[in-house]
């Protein structure tokens, strides 16, 4: 049993590495997640997010480095680690022949809760996730969104100190996604949460801090604001147009060199941009301006700048 100090961070990894043969899935990752923090691992598919989670949940052994959860070493004290964590895996993880109540009771009992407490926590979570009306049906009959909500509820029923949510809203409709976001938002501060996602909006809206992962390495770490501020503070004006021609774009480039064409119009980057000047340039060339707005830097810009590729690729 490892020694636990009150001051230990919720999660600490030191040069955590996982190799599969010649492939390095996670490459010397150093992370510190404080207690009560909502920490997001952001990166494209195959970046190493899920492998990192699996190592931290003691489901796969690191090939290098070390990690501890609430002061418990994942290699030396896996049972102590498992007693303080729970995980909602990327795929919906429920027993199809059992009802929603039975699934929740199963997880609560596996984590050592007595029957009465398990029952009461199950009912509470079913209510919270809007599943009470279908609580006693076999879960294989539930819709995809309901199954996913149940799968997340199963990670919460043990009241873990550290909660791993691996792509919790993957493939969900916007309504279900919003309700899960609202629930995660409600847990902030009360629990340490590690959220892996490749949805930028999700990380931006929910996370206290974000680690951007690419090819198994942490390429940036900070709050969403810090990450965006580090990229560029040059304003970008978005001009949505109809009838745009290459000649019109070339003419505008003579005034503003940083002009990028996109599906619905143009993005112009630079200081002292004049909308009148843009209109004076485009209108005589048959281009109609539909709308203009100033665009804020997104995490996609951050990812593009750091890795040379877009997160959505």
């Amino acid at each position: 049993m490892s020694s636990v100090t009150v001051e230990s961070p919720a999660i600490q990894t030191v040069a955590l590495t996982k190799r599969f043969g010649g492939i390095v899935a996670v490459d010397r990752v150093d992370l510190t997640v404080e207690r009560g923090e909502l920490f997001s691992l952001l990166g494209p598919n195959g970046a190493g997010k899920t492998t990192t989670i699996k190592m931290l949940c003691c489901l796969t052994r690191p090939t290098g480095g070390s990690a501890s959860i609430m002061g418990h070493d994942i290699a030396k004290a896996p049972l102590s680690v498992k007693a303080v964590i729970d995980v909602s895996p990327q795929e919906t993880a429920i027993a199809g022949n059992l009802s929603a109540t039975e699934n929740l009771m199963l997880m609560a009992r596996l984590h050592g809760f007595d029957k009465r407490v398990a029952q009461s926590r199950s009912e509470e979570l079913l209510e919270m996730m809007g599943l009470s009306a279908r609580a006693n049906e076999k879960t294989k009959k539930l819709s995809g969104g309901m199954k996913r909500r149940l799968s997340i509820a199963m990670a919460l029923v043990s009241d873990p100190e550290v909660l791993f949510l691996d792509e919790p809203t993957l493939g969900l409709d916007p309504q279900s996604r919003n309700s899960i976001w609202a629930y995660i938002e409600g847990l902030k501060g009360a629990k340490t949460i590690v959220l892996t996602t490749h949805y930028l909006e999700e990380a931006d809206a929910l996370a206290d801090r974000i680690a951007i992962i690419d090819d198994g390495r942490v390429v940036a770490l900070g709050t969403p604001g810090e990450l965006k501020a580090a990229v560029s503070d040059t304003p970008v004006i978005v001009v949505e147009t109809t009838g745009l021609t290459e000649q019109a774009v070339d003419a505008l480039r003579e005034i503003y060199p940083q002009v990028r064409r996109f599906e619905a119009g143009l993005e112009i980057e630079g200081d002292d941009i004049s909308l009148y000047e843009i209109e004076d340039c485009l209108r005589p060339r048959g281009v109609t301006i539909q709308a203009t707005h100033r665009r804020r830097v997104t995490l996609d810009d951050v990812f593009l700048e750091l890795t040379g590729k877009q997160l959505r690729e």
Binding site: K54, C58, A83, L106, R109, L110, K138
Partner: protein, 240 residues
Amino acid sequence: MRAIALARRNFMEVWRDPLSLGITIGLPILMLLVLQAFGGVDAFFTPTMLTPGIVLFGFVMLMFSTAMTLSRDRETALFSRLLTAPLKPKEFVAGYSLPYLPVAIILAAALFVIGAFLGLEISGNAGLVVMVLLVMAVFYIALGMILGSLLPLAPLSGAYAVILLLTIFGGAWMDLAAIGGVFQTMGNVLPFAHALDAIRDVMAEGAGLGDIAPDLYWVIGYTALVAVLAVFAFKRRMLE
């Protein structure tokens, strides 16, 4: 406590699949009814000699069900979730194995009741028969745990066929002494023939514990070994 919670879930999975359960219990009963009809041709096919072998045949099917449940579970995200719960490997093995024990008991009881109607007799202590059968039930279920931990679904049928043949050639419904040769030698080093000899000696000749002790050592030894190996096999499966 935690193992019981897992066993409860697996028990519900078993009982909510009536088709598999029906086949596991129904097929050995059918086999007993068919084979005992040859009783007039060969004295070995009497209910007293045949029933213990048919029970072991049923246990092989139970072993297959255990292996299938675990192997199928291993391919699901639910299994990863279960592995994040704070259970030791032996608790997982118990949780997956325990639900099959009641099925084994029901299966053996059904066969013995039907055997009794057909003329089965137990001259010795019935408790000894129950004891040997219980140990063998644990043996087969633990064997299923090893297979389910190590093999994916596809090769399980091959492993099932091998264990079934070993059980049959261990004397399930043939007289090994009469066949002799390699089959008898093989029977003497595996637990199947020892278990059947012990049960048949109690049933047909009224043998006591002291008489069957040499066979019992083989059966208990193999069962302990397979149970320990099942825990190691599962432990290996817990970490990728």
